[in-house]
Amino acid sequence: MKHFCLTVLLLVLLAGGGAPRADASSAVAASASAPILLPSSGNSNQLEPVSQEPTARESKPDPGSVDSPEMGEPSADEPESRAVPAKNAPESVVPGTSPGIPEEEKTNGHTDDLESDYVPEEGGEAPATLYDPLEPFNRAMYHVNDKLYFWLLKPVSQTYGEVVPEPARISVRNFFSNLAFPVRFLSCLLQADFSGAVKESGRFVVNTLWGVGGFLDPSSKNELDLPKQNVDLGQTLGIYGLGPGFYIVWPFLGPSSLRDTVDIAGRHFLSPVSYLNPWYAPMTVRGYEAVNDTSLRIGDYEALKGAAIDPYLSIRDAFAQYRKQKIEARKKHLTKQLPSGEEKMPVSVGSGIE
């Protein structure tokens, strides 16, 4: 029943919030050859440019932390003390919204300087960002997740990591990854990537049978080389031209967008774990999965957060860029599979922010 209610809530949110995102994506896309206007109020709800320099997270994309809707957007122990000095901050960060920046910087005209300085390269691509009308809510959820990470998930994961050897934890991660096969398979089918669907099926069969239920990974690159398809349902919608909508930080699940929330819902329905009994079993299993995953990447989030003046903005922008890159990469992959001159997807590439 709880699952049903959660799902209904997600669907209602999805159904009701499609319009704003279209505006956001088209606005930024249209501004590719023109200066992007920054909000004078410094409210990051508005569209704003972000640095095209990859963030620490972007340079090491990990679907399990930034992109994934797991509770992975936690923060550093002492964010302010770790913050990079303002002179080193990316130009795209809006000073007025950064709690770590002295108050005087908000009023000394520095914002205007940023506005006038920011000129995208000729013919360059618009930087990825996300419309964020729910920023107050999102920031609150960000802090909730942040505290959950530092107060609960991280200590538990550290203890777990000290008790359980790394190979065992990797095996557990393999097992859950294998369980997520239906999402990847369906995504491949929806993307008309039948080759990927076949590979994914082969991978599932091999890992389930000869990987002892998925704990081992005989399909890995070093063995049979049946790579896992880097696909999800949100990406599938993006390939079909649906923009991200607006940014939303889900409690426990982390950063997402309206579009990528479909992925959360899809994963919920397609995961065998969701159908365990009694009712608390799925939560318990997912909690364990989160602990196991976190134990394998402790420090990633801290590094991202520590390098940011405003971790919230950094994570949001990293999320936007990561999702955009993932969709673009997939589009290129799908285009390569086509005979020359054919158009595979019903929408053109670059129709908006992914």
Partner: protein, 269 residues
């Protein structure tokens, strides 16, 4: 040298056979004596199916039939000299004429005991001594235990009155040990054969004791009738690290199994 080796092998086999405690069983194929792991040693995993028949006796004899499906993880040492493995799987059980009455005053339906999908596990180890380039001799010890009970219901008439009884087969376990010689022929095909000894028992309990039906007359422990048998098989490389293994065994009844093994080239994670 070869004589000393054979002596060591024989002594080791006897030690393993008679002094190592534990439950071992024919919960699947025995496989070739050498490990199928890579030359340097490492993991291999197997998926197998085994059709197993055995005669059990307590007060009379009955035939146990089982279909077993299992998944195995094994770690083999360098140069294929040793291997340890564990299996988990599921098995059914059919006891032919398990409910058949031997007297006219008792009737029963059905006549066969049938139960599906009981989990089992097995542990085993094998050692191998190469004799020249193509031949070798090895020994194994393997034990299985069925974690769940097998149960089935029977109805009928006993002295004119209807009855219903439930028969449970509990704590079925097996231990098997054997030696085999192997020959590696061209294309990497391995042929192997040898004798084995096998012991298996289970506890049979009934919710109601019915005269005329041996398994229902009283609670008892049943044991396999014949403890010696022979087996032989073939292992064929399929490419990309896969091997197909087919094996037959005979000990009062004939059993057969097939398995596909994957040999990891790396750590497997």
């Amino acid at each position: 040298m070869a004589k000393r080796l054979m002596k060591f092998l024989g002594m080791s086999f006897l030690v393993v056979l008679f002094y190592v405690p534990g439950n071992a069983a024919a919960g699947g194929l025995f496989g070739p004596p050498q490990s199928l792991s890579r030359e340097k040693g490492g993991l291999n995993t197997t998926v197998g199916f085994d059709y197993h028949e055995d005669k059990f006796e307590s007060d009379g004899t009955c035939v146990f039939r089982q279909n077993r499906v299992y998944s195995q993880v094994a770690y083999g040492g360098a140069r294929h000299l040793w291997e340890v493995y564990g299996r988990i799987g599921i098995a059914d059980l059919e006891i032919e004429d398990g409910f058949r009455s031997r007297i006219n005053t008792t009737t029963s339906s059905p006549n066969d005991f049938e139960e599906n999908e009981t989990p089992f596990g097995a542990l085993g180890a094998k050692v191998f001594f190469p004799l020249g380039g193509a031949f070798g001799i090895g020994a194994f010890l393997q034990g299985s235990f069925f974690f769940g009970d097998f149960g089935d219901e029977v109805r009928g008439h006993w002295n004119g009155a209807p009855y219903k009884a439930e028969l449970n087969v509990r704590d079925l376990w097996e231990i098997t040990s054997g030696i085999s010689v192997s020959a590696t022929v061209p294309r990497g095909i391995i042929l192997y054969a040898g004798p084995f000894i096998h012991y298996s028992e289970a506890r049979v309990t009934s919710s109601r004791h019915i005269s005329g039906i041996p398994l229902l007359e009283e609670d008892a422990t049943v044991k396999n009738k014949t403890e010696i048998g022979g087996y032989g098989g073939i292992s064929v490389p399929l490419g990309r690290g896969f091997h197909l293994n087919a094996e037959g065994r005979y000990s009062e009844r004939f059993s057969v199994g097939v398995a596909v093994t994957y040999t990891y080239q790396n750590r497997g994670l």
